[in-house]
């Protein structure tokens, strides 16, 4: 039985796995102690919970438990990694310019771009690379941008809007050769695709619970301890928890849930991935075959298996989402953002504002069924056709008028 609405927005967030919720429950009312309370059972039990979580988190990425710092999520993890590393490895103290060169990419999440912009204000030289039209940022591009005073490179493993994958191991190797600290925002990657921080040459890695069927408000930052030992200036100071990297009473319930989510992800990653790839392909093939003037955005092959970002010519994204209201997804359209600006990621690809306004991001998840995918495909096809009947741009297309040559009267 199909339950409506159907959720196809897993890149935005995921429901908790019931096993995660079960693991968390005792820590609300029974094992509710402060993990920092060293002198009684309540504290020891809470500490036990978070240390088990730490074990699972480390195992998921092939790290040592001492290299895991629990955070409130990827945004905090990114802030800590970027500001913490920049301030630690600065070439000159605060108040001066030329404090060091930082490289990142224009289609990173705002949780990377905004800290980096702040660092720029505070005297660091920041280089924001434009990705290629397929959404990738290559090692060659980074190599070309590197300077004598480059201290930090931050490149996301997989893009949240497009699913496009970057060659993190190769970028990491490059950075290692040049003694540059390498951070990757792996929020969309960890738990879905295999990670081994040794093999993949990563120094700092961010991920988050609510993208991998864990609770919101918790995540982890991997901080390398050997070859090289990476140090950070803590951004949240106080009681010295997490070996001084991140003070604050532990979010025990969240961390326990996060750990369980990591454990499950490691065990079920492969089968989930294959199944979702097949479903995504089915949906994509049907949409592209069923309509003219469609475009899949981002790299076709170097893509997470469960994300489809697709533009439908002459149809606006928010209008489309309204027409398929039984399906929950996102759009790169300006109308769907609070700022009325279209997706900066699609803009960054040079896709053009018009296609950004016409885009839909569909992201499948652990419990997405074939029935749901088939239903969604049929609804989207129907909705696009209906909206094209309403669209003056589609009329022009049918009449053979090239929209790019029209002089628009905008206000």
């Amino acid at each position: 039985m199909l339950k409506l609405p159907i959720y196809l927005d897993h890149a935005a967030t995921t429901p908790c796995d019931p096993r995660v919720v079960e693991a968390m429950l005792p820590y609300f009312t029974q094992k509710f102690g402060n993990a920092g309370s060293r002198n009684h059972k309540f504290g020891w039990e809470a500490e036990g919970g978070i240390e088990t979580a730490r074990e699972h988190a480390a195992a998921l990425i092939g790290a040592n438990q001492k290299e895991i710092v629990f955070t409130s999520g990827s945004t905090e993890g990114n802030n800590l990694a970027l500001k913490g590393a920049a301030e630690m490895y600065e070439k000159k103290p605060a108040g001066q310019t030329g404090r060091g060169h930082i490289i990142t990419c224009a289609i990173e999440h705002k949780a990377v771009l905004d800290p980096v912009k702040r660092l720029q204000k505070e005297g660091f030289d920041v280089e924001i690379l434009m990705p290629k039209a397929d959404g990738t940022t290559t090692p060659e591009m980074i190599k070309a941008a590197m300077r004598e005073d480059t201290i930090l490179v931050s490149i996301m493993w997989a893009n949240n809007e497009l699913g496009t994958i970057n060659d993190i191991p190769a970028i990491g190797k490059l950075c290692r050769e040049r003694n540059v600290i390498f951070h990757t925002d792996a929020t969309q990657w960890v738990g879905k695709m295999p990670v081994n921080v040794e093999r993949d040459n990563v120094d700092l890695l961010t991920w988050s619970g609510h993208k991998i069927y864990g609770p919101k408000g918790v995540g982890a930052l991997y901080v390398r301890r050997r070859n090289p030992r990476v140090r950070l200036v803590a951004q949240i100071e106080g009681g010295g928890q997490e070996r001084g990297f991140r003070s604050g009473t532990h979010n025990v319930t969240g961390i326990v849930g996060f750990g369980e989510a990591c454990r499950i992800a490691k065990a079920e990653m492969d089968q989930d991935g294959q199944r979702l790839y097949r479903l995504r392909k089915k949906m994509e093939d049907a949409l592209v075959a069923g309509l003219d003037v469609t475009q899949v955005n981002g790299h076709k092959e170097k893509r997470l298996p469960q994300i489809l970002n697709i533009s439908f010519g002459f149809v606006e994204g928010e209008g489309l989402m309204m027409a398929i209201k039984e399906i929950a997804c996102s759009s790169g359209s300006a109308c769907t953002s609070a700022s009325l600006e279209p997706s900066y990621v699609l803009k960054g690809l040079g896709v053009g504002d018009e296609l950004a306004h016409s885009s839909l991001r569909l992201s499948l998840g652990r419990w997405t069924t074939e029935e749901e995918v088939d239903y969604a495909t049929a609804k989207i096809l129907e909705a696009v056709k209906k909206l094209r009947m309403l669209s003056p741009l589609y009329d022009m297309h049918l009449e053979g008028i090239d929209i790019k040559t029209v002089e628009w009267q905008s206000h």
């Binding site: 002459f314 149809v315 606006e316 994204g317 928010e318 209008g319 309204m322 027409a323 359209s333 300006a334 109308c335 609070a338 009325l340 279209p342 053009g352 504002d353 018009e354 306004h357 009947m389 309403l390 669209s391 003056p392 741009l393 589609y394 009329d395 022009m396 009449e399 008028i401 929209i403 628009w408 009267q409 905008s410 206000h411």
Partner: protein, 147 residues
Amino acid sequence: MAYGPKVIDHYENPRNVGTFGTTSEVKGRKDIGVGIVGAPECGDVMQIQIKVDQNTGKIEDARFKTFGCGSAIASSSLATEWIKGRTIEQAAALKNTEIVEELSLPPVKIHCSVLAEDAIRTAINDYRKKNGLVDEKAPAAGASQQH
């Protein structure tokens, strides 16, 4: 963002969708005014066409096509409903605020109603040009200025 029921109604049952012919057919007809406003880069393009009784100056019929969100579609659909039966002067006096109120548009969607107002005025000016009447800027409500 939850939509008001009237927006949803216009969106699911849009009134007066269509055109009075192809672009070239319509260009040649003096009784039809065409207004296209907005731009694909902005995510909003509205086209309103009016068919005017050249004797009475009344809008006999109207059509619209819109590339845009639900509020944009609803604004233009409502606009075509309202201008039917009005003279071109009365239609030109239509204010976007009336659309905002009728559809309960939130602040972030007000520009959709402004676009609909623009589309009507542009269609009227197109008709006027074709018929040798002077281009009017926004006339005051009720005023009728023919040179």
